[in-house]
Amino acid sequence: MTRQRNEEKVRAALEKVWLNSRPEALSGLATLEGFLEALRSGRTNEERLGIALSAAHRLSGSLGMFGLSEASSCAGEIEALLCQESAPDITVMAGLVRRLRILIEETQVPTRTQDKCDL
């Protein structure tokens, strides 16, 4: 099997997984939106922060796998924001979460070839 054909098959397989996993990705996004609401109302705690951080981390990894590189980067930014020692900036967090929803919702079949870049 040639490399190109292999990669085409891999992309096709990933598209199927993405279609099944999209609700789970949206659920992760809902977790972040819930955390944002808690942040706004001053109801955050370590446990909620940990759950939100885990959701952001997972989204960053899995969205990247499905070719949603911009959404993956956005989730990565949220993850970085939640990792800071100080409380996350609500305005920045809200902007990132809103952007993440748009990026996920607007993409139906996201798996595409990406340009190679350095680590």
Binding site: N6, V17, S21, H57, R58, G61, M65, G76, L119
Partner: protein, 226 residues
Amino acid sequence: MKRATEKPDVARVLIADDDPIVRQAVRSILGVSGGFQVVGEAEDGKMAGELVTETNPDILLLDLLMPNLPGLQALRAITTAGAEVRTVLLCSAISAKQILEALQLGARGVVLKKRVAELLEALDAVMKGQYWIESRSVSNVVQIVEQLGAANLQPAQPQSRFGLTARETEIVSFITQGYMNRDIAKSLSITEETVKRHLTNIFNKVGMSNRLELALFAIEHGLVRK
């Protein structure tokens, strides 16, 4: 955690990632090729170590950031336990420093999740005894170090042979080229057991504990030529 029964002639893969979506995606990708069989899934680093012992996989696909035991710590534990699994990191992001650390701990490759389309090619390369770094196959540890711009490992004039015999130096040279024990044995027409015995002696003489440490040490001290 899921397990599967063994099939002959396929590489047995253990997937360790806390995200079920990632595990499912990897499973699907491996299903594209007939050359891989998933023998287990671990959702944290501790479970990864346990399943390596239980399932004895050919390949461990390991995420860096996982609950309980982070990837590199899990890798350290697995290496310390003496498992001969070929570990490939499958992660969102990784620094050059972390790559070197992973290699020192025995990892054979790194695949970024956003480059997961190259996973099959990477695993094929690793199964052939090569390394997979920065989206390509590399057979020589020296190349990896150079690519990563790592360390101040300028080859030095050999000041000491560290008590190594000619045969041991020869084996060190093979190690820096990424050879597995069976390949070294074949090249030198000796048994794999003899290679292991030589390696034990070499590790004792130079004070290193794994192949990559040994390779880096050899380069640093001019024991081998590029």
